[in-house]
């Protein structure tokens, strides 16, 4: 059966910010945790046929992430961008994404990465799935589509769980599930040349400003500080054999080795 798959991706900040977070084309890249989700979508499309749509919510600079997704082989790229969306926490983000996905209906599978490399909450996938009333399996390792049912393998704590889920359904894809394909220069040339990204605002997804952005966010980042680690440097005295003995003694004492 042909599958219509939607993958939610994010353009994440590369380096730890010195002050407030500035999302620009130079400071961001496609979330590495989204690559396995994109790869799984592309593999399922190769197997079953259908389409893959990538959706991202972010400023204009997030276009690069969508174009990279299209360079990989994604058929359609949608940028959800509106000044009112700025300052959204994960729930407001999920509200916006869910509304966008409603506008993309119908679909069979909704995929997310397990988390983002910058905010690292892991919440958007589950929150969006709940808002869409979709069954969700997190940390999926393998997927088999059998008519209208999907078997999902999940590994946790040394156990292998197999879920049977009716479609449409949502998954967050474990980073180790699949090896993401490299982006080819052919793909980059084609997608960055044609730049076929659809840009949607609040109007297209039928939301009002009070439902998203800071107004629609029940949580707010109060402070963001760098953790300073104080390093104590202890120089072991004596010749090498003595240093080795002392090092072993300390490692045993602290329980770092047994």
């Amino acid at each position: 059966m042909r599958l219509n798959i939607i993958v939610c991706i994010k353009s994440v900040v590369l380096d730890v910010p010195q002050g407030p977070v500035v999302r620009s084309a130079e400071s961001c890249e496609l979330n590495p945790f989204d690559r396995p989700a994109l790869e799984l979508a592309l593999k399922l499309k190769e197997l079953h046929g259908g389409t893959v749509t990538a959706v991202t919510m972010g400023p204009e600079s997030s276009t690069s992430a969508l174009l990279e997704a299209m360079a990989l082989g994604v058929d359609r790229g949608i940028l959800l961008s509106d000044p009112a969306l700025s300052g959204s926490d994960t729930l407001a983000t999920s509200t916006a994404l869910a509304a966008a996905i409603h506008a993309i209906y119908p679909f069979d599978l909704l995929l997310f990465g397990t988390r983002t490399a910058d905010s690292d909450t892991g919440q958007v996938g589950p929150q969006t799935s709940v808002l869409l009333d979709l069954p969700l399996v997190t940390g999926a390792h393998a997927v088999d589509i059998l008519q209208t049912v999907m078997r999902v393998v999940r590994r946790a704590d040394g156990f292998r769980e197999v879920f049977e889920v009716t479609l449409p359904a949502a998954l967050t894809v474990h980073p180790g599930a699949v090896q993401p394909r490299d982006i080819t220069l052919y793909g980059i040339a084609s997608s960055f040349e044609s730049r076929l990204i659809e840009k949607w605002g609040l109007k297209e997804i039928g939301l009002t400003p009070d439902q998203v952005g800071e107004a629609g966010s029940p949580t707010r980042v109060y402070a963001l500080n760098r953790v300073k680690k104080d390093r104590i440097c202890d120089f072991l005295p004596g010749p090498t054999e003595e240093m080795a003995d002392e090092l072993i003694r300390r490692l045993l004492e602290t329980g770092l080795i047994k």
Binding site: S64, E68, D182, L185, Y186, I188
Partner: protein, 380 residues
Amino acid sequence: MDFLLSDKHRAVRRSVRTFCEREIFPIAKDIDQEARFPWDVVEKMGSLGYFGVQVPVELGGAGLDALSYAIVIEEISRACAGLGLCLAVHYGVVVFPILAFGSEDQKKKWIPPLARGEKIGAFCLTEPNAGSDAAGVESTAAYGDGHYVINANKVFVTNGGVADICLIFARTDPKAGRKGISVLVAERGTAGFVVGDLEDLCGVRANPVSSIRLYDCRVPEENLLGNEGMGLRIGLTALDTGRMGIAAQALGIAQAAFDEAVRYAGQRRQFGVPISAHQAVQAMIADMATQLDAARLMVYRAAILSDRRKPFGQESAMAKLFASETACKVTDLAVQIHGGYGYSKSYPVERYYRDARVTRIYEGTSEIHRIVISRGVMGA
């Protein structure tokens, strides 16, 4: 003037860098020690389009611009200078001359497999008695009965040990001096085509540099590139593009050495502080950063001029001269910053130091470039 890279160029850099970090960095030391050409990695590079960055899409390439090409060479060279060299010569002085001077039939025949990396190209100009003096070529190509019979002794052929499609510079008219040299395409496997021993080089050791000798090697007249007598023109035009690739290679080597030097300077402690706190080291880091930045701007500018179809020979000569000399200075300082460890194969900087040295020699020595540049200023 826009000094910032576009999102497309950033995407090119990111994708190549990701590939290099996964596939090339982990093996770079071994392939240098063993002087081994890593075929499995090269095949992957081919499938990603690295061998045909600027080749038009209809001929199997990625159809990207010269700036993207410079970035690809820079990133590959940062991981392994020998592989960066492979790409630079393959495109700059083999694929490009065929695109620029070849007939439609020649382009359709040779370009698609070259663009996909299924066949590798080599440029055979240098001989024991003809290096900087390209017109001193003694190889011959005698025409008769629809064929050219080539006798050639070509040395220091980059990619020679693996090349399938070779541009051979030989005299078709012994009496015509500089105008008697032509370019013929000879393919590996043709009777009389002999690949000599691999050179045991100081650096760029993953590249299979060898001699190539042709003994009464018969190639059809369809293998003549351009017209008879165009050899030097083709060679010098090719070198304009080729030197930009080598400039990008030198840039990649310098960047790799600089990254290592900065990392080491931040970690190594002497006299109670990281050595980056000592003024002498700070001066070195500052000089390295500045020269590297200047080299990058020059390389990218030459590429951008090429993309805008403006003359770029002078700028690419300057870029090659400056980037190669920068690579030698930066790698030298990187070794110095590492102290004794910089002299050990346990650290990569000694390899960068060895790799950098040849960039001042091939694709036109620094001395030749100084002549080219001053002629560009003063008029020939």
